[in-house]
Structures are given as structure tokens and as C-alpha cells.
């Protein structure tokens, strides 16, 4: 625990388990519960909470689990974090020495190579065999996890190492942690990119996760304003202010169609994003990428996405590369180019404003509908939170991205991106983890929670209640695994078999789930279901007041599918 304290962990997220009982007992007694032990009700929740926490705090918590059954539970959440380039620090208990395993369960919970099952989607793991080895590997694991591309690591804590006293006279030392400087682009390559950007008539930036920290948002704004170029956003982080005139995401097809140069920064499916423009071979196009994803890749899982042909690829962290790129661009901009850029920026601002007008018109359709439209729910919620210090901690995809379309998002903590690997069950635990990080800042955490996702591990609400983690959860209760409803419907139609059976295995009805009662049973104040949009505003007001008083609150809202 002295090693972990030296690293600076603020919290332990764990569901208790005997194979790491030695560490658990040390946390609460030897360390006086500092780092604070947050009781989780599922290992998948522990890791998803750590995932959400890291996206707000910028660093991992300490997570613990059994090396066998605990890691098995946690594996999908680890995969989400892996795909989402999020640092997770996981310590798992195991008994390597067969002579020291306790009975049948002890054997069931022991494994030769504990981290093997997640090695394909973790950056590094180790099985230390001495305390000194443990200290060095623990520090190394943190350093590796935090070096872009930031990713999960696993450290095995042998039960004998945990449980036995340090031999008298043993000289142990804790190595100093020094984080590796994020890799930035080669100077010559940056100069080439700057030349191409300044010479281009319509450069467009596509960002995936360039907002690794709050500084990344500011730097991207500076680059875009320097060039007066458009920015499209894959919504994997808070990368760029959504109401900035250069934000072109809501007219991304048109913006990319006009591009003669596309610069991809820490993108995910870059191939899919730029494919329509690449297909138009009549217009010349240059493609540049800057991503730490080029620096570290594994074979088995295919989250690296389809290969994208480019004219110049810089293997580096985009955020770390942006300062040099901005300076290189500024040096090349002549008065003539500046005038061209200003004219371009003006046109982009007008196009962006028109796109926003179209979105508002779109939001008005179904305004009075019941079940309530996701656009209206988002608009009503925005009116209630816009004067608060707020943080939206949900994947916006299933809510038709309305919060991103209608809210003034400009700070890094205003949005934390999506699940990473599209693994369902991420939403509510990631939100609770993010809320832990927001709590110390007195920030209002907003979670718009998909119903199907919530039911994977609803016990996380108890965690929020028990540890007094303030947050407002709005249930996106569309009463189905809606994505799958549409998928099965599509399949049935393609086979011309009728669609009257598509609810089998996809709808969450008969009975409908009473989320307000479920929340109450877990110690969380709640209300709903709300079916009339006129009832939203007063409910949201009540929920925000409770969250601001330091408690979680849940409001069940019957919503449209999307």
C-alpha cells in the first residue's frame, strides 16, 4: 500500500474478494481508508466506474478484483476502456503457490497466468514474485498506463506477498514515479503538415480524441482559428466547442465534400468518416493523420479499424503535437493568406449557423409527443442546467446526440465521449465514476441513462447512494433494447417474414420496469415515470436540487426510441 500511496491514488474501486483481502484490509486500517474504498457491486461496474473517473480526472483510480472470476466479470469493461484509450489500473489477487491455496474455492480461484485472458486488450501486465519486484512493477504499470496511447494495465498481487509480514531486515525501496512525456511529432514532419495546411484552400480537421485533457480543447480551437478551417467531430471526447462558428459536425458531409485536405487527429473510424470524400477522385485530396494509435497496436481484436490511406502520418500524441504545429502554421501565414482564411472562416460560420437552424427545426418535430421526444427532453434539461457548473457524462448516441446539438458545450468536462468498444453496461457505472471525480469540484453530474444498459448492473446506484455521490440520472426509458429492435425488424423485412414477432427478445415490457421504485430500493431518491413533456421541467428542477445537496437522484422518463 505504501507503493500505491506513493503513486497517488485517490480511490479504490472494488467489489470485495478474498484473493485481495490482504490489500483490502491494509487500505481500510493501515491507510485509514485513504485512498477511499468505494464499494462496487460488480467488477464490471468497478472498471466502468474507473473508466468514467479517468475521463474526468485524467488519471486512474486503483481497482481490485479476483484474478479469476473478478477479472472475468471485469473483462468487457476493460475492453471498452482499451478501445476508448483510457488508462485503467487493475490489481488482481491470485495464489500461484499450490501449497498455499485454501481448499476447493482457493483452487477454483487460482490461475497459472491470470492476465492471459485480457492480454489482447491490455497494454501491459506483470506477476511480481517479490515485494521489491511488486514495487517496481506497480510504478512501471502506472507509467505505462499514462503514456499515450493511454490504456489499461493489470498487476497480479500474489496472496502470499499480500498476506505475509515483511521479513525483518529486508531492504525495500519504492522507485520514484516519473511520467513519460507524451510523444510529439517529428519537427520536420510538423513543418510539412503546416505547409500543406496553410496552402490548402479548404482544410478540414476531423477529431476523435484530440481532447485528451482540457488543454487539448484549447489547442484545437487555436489551430482551427489560426487557419479559420472547419472542424468535424467523432464525439469520442469533448474536443471542440459545439457552438463555435468553425464547428462543422452538423454539416459534416458538406464540409468534408468541400475539403482539399483532411487532417485526422486521434480518430477512430477515420476510413468510414472520410470515405465519401475519398470516393470522389475527381477532386484532389490530401490526407494527414496524427495519432498515438500508430505507436501501439495489437493483432487479435480489431478495434484499430480499417486501414486509411494517407499522404502523411505522424505517429504521435495529437495534443502534444498541436503547440508546435500551431506555431509552424503561424510562421507561414502571410497577409494574403490571412485574408483568404478570414473569408473562409466567415463562410463556415454562416454555414454552421444554418446547420444549427436546421437542427432547431428538427427538434421542433414531435415537440409535444408522448412518449417524450429526446430533443425536447434535452432542451428542457439544458434550460435547467445552463447556469450551473455541469458535466454530461453519458454516451449521447442513443439520445440522437441532442445534448451535443442543443447544449453549449465548451469545457473539457462538458462531455466525456462514448463507451469505447460499444459494450453495453458501461453507462451507469461510468457515470458514477465520473461523478466521483466531479464531486470534489462541486460540479453537477448529468447522466442520461439508457434503460437496457442500466439493467446490466443497477447495483451501481446503491454505490452512489452509499457513498453520497451526487448526480442526476435521467432514464432514457424507451422500453426496449432499441438498437436490436430495429436490427431484428430489418432482418425480418429483408426476409419478408413480417415483423409482428420482433419484440421477442428485444422489448423490455410486460412488465415495464419501474425504475423509480428500483432506485428507491437502492437508496436513491427518485420519481417517474414521466410521460407528459410538460412535467419534465419541475422534475428536473427537483432532481438538480437534490444532486446539488450532495445526493444522487433518478428521474424515469418515457422516451421515444431515439
Amino acid at each position: 500500500m505504501d507503493v500505491f500511496k506513493s503513486i497517488g491514488f485517490d480511490y479504490v474501486f472494488a467489489n470485495p474478494g478474498g484473493s485481495f483481502g490482504g490489500l483490502h484490509e491494509s487500505v481500510i486500517n493501515y491507510c485509514g481508508n485513504n485512498p477511499e474504498f468505494i464499494t462496487c457491486m460488480h467488477e464490471e461496474s468497478s472498471i466502468a466506474m474507473a473508466h468514467g473517473y479517468a475521463k474526468i480526472e485524467g488519471k486512474p483510480v486503483l481497482t481490485m478484483a479476483h484474478g479469476t472470476v473478478g477479472l472475468q466479470h471485469a473483462s468487457m469493461a476493460l475492453y471498452n476502456a482499451w478501445c476508448d484509450r483510457v488508462p485503467i489500473y487493475m490489481v488482481i489477487g491470485n495464489s500461484l503457490d499450490a501449497a498455499h491455496r485454501g481448499g476447493e474455492v482457493g483452487w477454483d480461484h487460482s490461475v497459472q497466468d491470470a492476465a492471459a485472458m485480457v492480454r489482447d486488450f491490455t497494454k501491459w501486465d506483470d506477476t511480481p514474485v517479490s515485494l521489491q519486484h511488486f514495487a517496481e512493477s506497480a510504478v512501471r504499470a502506472y507509467k505505462i498506463a499514462m503514456t499515450p496511447p493511454t490504456l489499461p494495465v493489470v498487476l497480479i498481487a500474489d496472496t502470499q506477498l499480500q498476506d505475509e509480514q515483511i521479513p525483518a531486515g529486508e531492504r525495500l525501496s519504492i522507485p520514484k514515479l516519473s511520467l513519460t512525456t507524451p510523444p510529439s511529432g517529428d519537427t520536420g514532419a510538423i513543418a510539412d503538415v503546416a505547409k500543406m495546411l496553410v496552402a490548402a484552400e479548404n482544410p478540414v480537421i476531423v477529431t476523435g480524441r484530440s481532447g485528451r485533457t482540457p488543454a487539448g480543447v484549447k489547442l484545437l480551437v487555436e489551430l482551427a482559428e489560426t487557419l479559420q478551417c472547419g472542424v468535424c467531430d467523432q464525439h469520442l471526447r469533448m474536443n471542440f466547442p459545439t457552438r463555435h462558428p468553425l464547428y462543422q459536425e452538423w454539416r459534416n458531409r458538406a464540409a468534408l465534400a468541400d475539403a482539399d485536405l483532411i487532417l485526422g487527429l486521434e480518430t477512430a473510424d477515420f476510413y468510414g468518416t472520410i470515405r465519401p470524400r475519398v470516393a470522389n477522385t475527381a477532386k484532389p485530396l490530401k490526407v494527414i493523420t496524427i495519432t498515438s494509435g500508430d505507436l501501439y497496436i495489437k493483432s487479435n481484436y480489431q478495434d484499430f479499424q480499417r486501414y486509411t490511406a494517407s499522404d502523411l502520418s505522424i505517429g504521435a500524441d495529437a495534443e502534444a503535437t498541436l503547440p508546435a504545429l500551431i506555431e509552424a502554421c503561424k510562421k507561414l501565414i502571410t497577409g494574403d493568406r490571412k485574408r483568404v482564411f478570414e473569408e473562409r472562416g466567415k463562410k463556415l460560420g454562416e454555414a454552421s449557423a444554418q446547420a444549427m437552424d436546421r437542427l432547431r427545426l428538427q427538434a421542433s418535430y414531435g415537440w409535444d409527443a408522448s412518449p417524450i421526444s429526446t430533443a425536447r427532453a434535452s432542451a428542457v434539461l439544458w434550460a435547467q442546467i445552463k447556469n450551473e457548473d455541469w458535466s454530461y457524462v453519458s454516451d449521447a448516441l442513443f439520445f440522437s446526440f441532442w445534448p451535443l446539438k442543443l447544449w453549449d458545450m465548451k469545457e473539457h468536462h462538458h462531455y466525456i465521449g462514448n463507451k469505447g468498444g460499444a459494450g453495453i453496461g458501461y453507462g451507469s457505472p461510468a457515470a458514477v465514476g465520473a461523478a466521483v471525480a466531479n464531486r470534489r469540484r462541486g460540479r453537477l453530474t448529468i447522466n442520461i441513462q439508457s434503460d437496457g444498459d442500466f439493467m446490466y448492473a443497477p447495483g451501481v446506484l446503491w454505490t452512489a447512494a452509499h457513498h453520497k455521490i451526487p448526480m442526476l440520472t435521467i432514464m432514457h426509458n424507451n422500453r426496449a433494447y432499441h438498437q436490436e429492435v430495429m436490427g431484428i425488424q430489418s432482418m425480418a423485412n429483408h426476409r419478408s417474414r413480417g415483423i409482428d414477432q420482433i419484440g421477442i427478445g428485444t422489448k423490455i415490457e410486460d412488465p415495464f420496469i419501474d425504475y423509480a421504485s428500483l432506485a428507491k430500493s437502492l437508496g436513491v431518491r427518485s420519481e417517474g415515470p414521466i410521460k407528459d413533456p410538460k412535467d419534465l421541467a419541475p422534475a428536473f428542477k427537483r432532481g438538480i436540487e437534490v444532486a446539488k445537496s450532495g445526493e444522487p437522484y433518478l428521474i424515469d422518463v418515457w422516451t421515444q426510441g431515439r
Partner: protein, 116 residues
């Protein structure tokens, strides 16, 4: 990244038709619209959806019946085809009547929550 532009283009091209011009039984159309799962992607009042999938709005002012039938039988993009075995032309006429019966939303300028 979602293709809003395409969705918007679909419904800006739609001419306005009245219920009388269309014919069809709006009440039955509503029942069919919900039973046949049109609402899953397009919303219960045909308002459309903005993501996953991007589904264009269908109402108010639905496209002409002939165009609707042609599209449903051979759709573009991610929409699956509905053959006449699954849904008849007469039923589509009723669905169109339902869509045509859906009132216009309040103008955006009259919705304070949507002011920039």
C-alpha cells in the same frame, strides 16, 4: 459523424398534400404505423431520428402516396424493404393518411427552449 444533410434533403423535397388528396383511414394508419414498427426509427409522430440510424422525418407533410409506396418497396440507405406481403398498398395509404393528419409543430420562433 452522422448524415444529417441527406435526411434533411429528403424532407425538404416533399410537397404538401392534404388528407383529402391522400385518402386512406388515418386511425387505421396510426395502428398500422405503430404495429409495423415504422415508429421505431421514425418516431411515433413521424418526427424522425438524429442518430443510429438517422431516420428522416415523415410528418407533417408526408411525401405523395405513390412516392411513399415506391420508396417503401425499394428503399435507399439503411431502411429495409417492406414487400407487399408484409404491408399492402392500401395499408400504406392508411399510414400516409395518419402521417398527413399529424399537426404542424409550433414554429421554432415560438418555442423559447429552442432559441439560440
Amino acid at each position: 459523424m452522422r448524415n444529417l444533410g441527406l435526411a434533411m434533403a429528403v424532407f425538404t423535397l416533399t410537397p404538401m398534400l392534404t388528407l383529402a388528396q391522400n385518402g386512406g383511414d388515418a386511425e387505421n394508419g396510426k395502428r398500422l404505423y405503430l404495429r409495423n414498427g415504422c415508429y421505431e426509427c421514425h418516431g411515433t409522430v413521424g418526427q424522425g431520428a438524429g442518430a443510429n440510424p438517422v431516420a428522416p422525418k415523415l410528418a407533417p407533410q408526408p411525401i405523395p402516396l405513390a412516392q411513399l409506396i415506391a420508396y417503401v418497396r425499394k428503399p435507399a440507405g439503411g431502411m429495409p424493404p417492406y414487400t407487399s406481403k408484409v404491408i399492402s398498398d392500401a395499408q400504406l395509404s392508411d399510414i400516409r393518411a395518419y402521417l398527413a393528419s399529424i399537426p404542424e409543430p409550433p414554429p421554432v420562433k415560438d418555442i423559447p427552449l429552442l432559441k439560440p
